[in-house]
Homo-oligomer: 293 residues x 2
């Protein structure tokens, strides 16, 4: 699994390298900041999910699939840069490195986030070997997942509002579904759409992605409690210090682990129609909950 993951990541890194303007491109400051955060050692899980979903639907190579998968890293990285800003989560470290605004200043960090979001849509709009209808369908999926209504920004706003508020299971689920699961769902849906999935295939893959995303976020909450700063590369137990609404805070560690396993079960159940072809996507979803970072 590790070797396989490394191979997929190498494909993604290569594609990202080609898609983002070079550091010397005018004005250099913004391209340096974009690249700093984009190449700060992310796990590329969303992109790998995208590549796998495409392969599940189509045994032939899917045109432009690497570029499509990269747009998920761009949107994910933009969201991290903005979330880390002093006005939001005020994080100085991310993956063990100083955050974008600590290195380049707040103004450039805000604009670098904006630029990565913009670039994601530019890449989708200009995919060279993909029909206009599919390019528009991909942008539809990504924009909804990143948006305010049941999307990433909506989840982030609810998350900020929930700090110091009383804990509420419904709100917690809304936050995790919108802030994290929506982009995971989009990750596999982008792959499936590019591979011209049938509506039934797309629905199954969408359900898989949403549940895998929920599992990922619950595990993230658990790791935030468990990990030392050295391991996770961000300030320890920040969620707890900021009184964020998390699964461990609401349900305790043991029940949270069970819930993560439950989401993975749901995710794998959704892939049943694909039978043994879905083996690798199932394995990837197990990796999500077994990871230590």
């Amino acid at each position: 699994m590790t070797t396989y993951l490394e191979q997929q990541r190498a494909r993604i890194e290569d594609a990202l390298e080609r898609l983002v303007p070079e550091e010397t491109a005018v004005p250099p400051a913004i391209h340096r900041a974009m690249r700093y955060s984009l190449f700060a050692g992310g796990k590329r899980i969303r992109s790998v999910f995208c590549l796998e979903a495409a392969q599940l639907v189509s045994s032939d190579p899917v045109p432009d699939i690497e570029a499509i998968s990269c747009t998920l890293e761009m949107v994910h990285t933009y969201s991290l840069i903005h979330d880390d800003l002093p006005a939001l989560d005020n994080d100085d470290f991310r993956r063990g490195k100083p955050t974008c605004h600590k290195v380049f200043g707040e103004a450039t960090a805000i604009l670098a986030g904006d630029a990565l979001l913009t670039l994601a849509f530019q890449v989708l709009a200009t995919l060279p070997h993909t029909s206009g209808d599919i390019r528009a369908a991909l942008a539809t999926e990504l924009s909804r997942a990143a948006g305010t209504v049941n999307g990433m920004i909506g989840g982030q706003v609810a998350d900020l509002e929930a700090v110091n508020n009383s804990f509420d299971p419904e709100k917690l689920e809304y936050i995790h579904r919108s802030k994290t699961a929506a982009l995971f769902r989009a990750s596999v849906c982008l792959g499936a759409i590019a591979a011209q999935a049938t509506p039934e295939q797309l629905a199954a893959i969408s359900r898989f992605g949403e549940n895998a995303g929920m599992a990922f976020q619950v595990v993230d909450d658990i790791l935030d409690v468990e990990s030392s700063r050295e391991e996770l590369g961000k300030t320890v137990g920040k969620d707890v210090l900021q009184k964020k609404v998390t699964y461990p805070a609401l349900y305790g560690m043991e029940q949270s682990s069970q819930m993560a396993a439950g989401f993975i079960g749901e995710a794998q159940e959704a892939l049943r129609p694909f039978r043994e072809n879905a083996a690798r996507l199932k394995e990837l979803s197990e990796y999500l909950v077994s990871r230590k970072v």
Copy 2:
């Protein structure tokens, strides 16, 4: 002209009203902030340009043209919200009203900007009566104009870097072309693309938009010097106080006015192939330089 402009603006306001989630949509905080800035009394010049360019190319009504024109207001408003932030231009007032972050806080303002940018691409991707190829072409144009390479973000970065630096005519032109003229060019190009312009028509309209945008920005620089806070609705002569690179600072007021007129001449010259059909677009470009706010 005024009545005509008011009619066009009413079409745009109606369409914007329908495209942006209601204030009650969950989570309400973000939708309130988006709407506050979007409906803060903008002149809708970019949208009107878009409508006019479409009409210049096609005598038949162009499907979805109001929605297309609204994406320009979304991108423009997002850029204003982020530019006004304390880390960037640190403006407390815009069009005589407190800026987004003064009313809703910095976190919500950052996310409201993100959300408007995302919504613009969602609207283009989901236009109900426009082909996939055209939807993708529109998103290509808008994303490039909003991006880092000769686009709005690139111009903004160069503008921030230029503060307190020595004045340089080439840099000044780069900033204005990227920060302002690129989105004006996109405004008319979106209309032309939606109306299925020929490559020759698109090139002419693009040249018009770029030059009209340059004129608009030079006049903006001049108004910043001339206007009192009451008239312009933002802090007086802020550009001067912040030692921004502007046309009046580099060339003086009189030469700046001549340069604005020169850009308008170029813009109108570009429309020559359309002969008398371009009368209204020409008139609009004159309005840009004669305006007092």
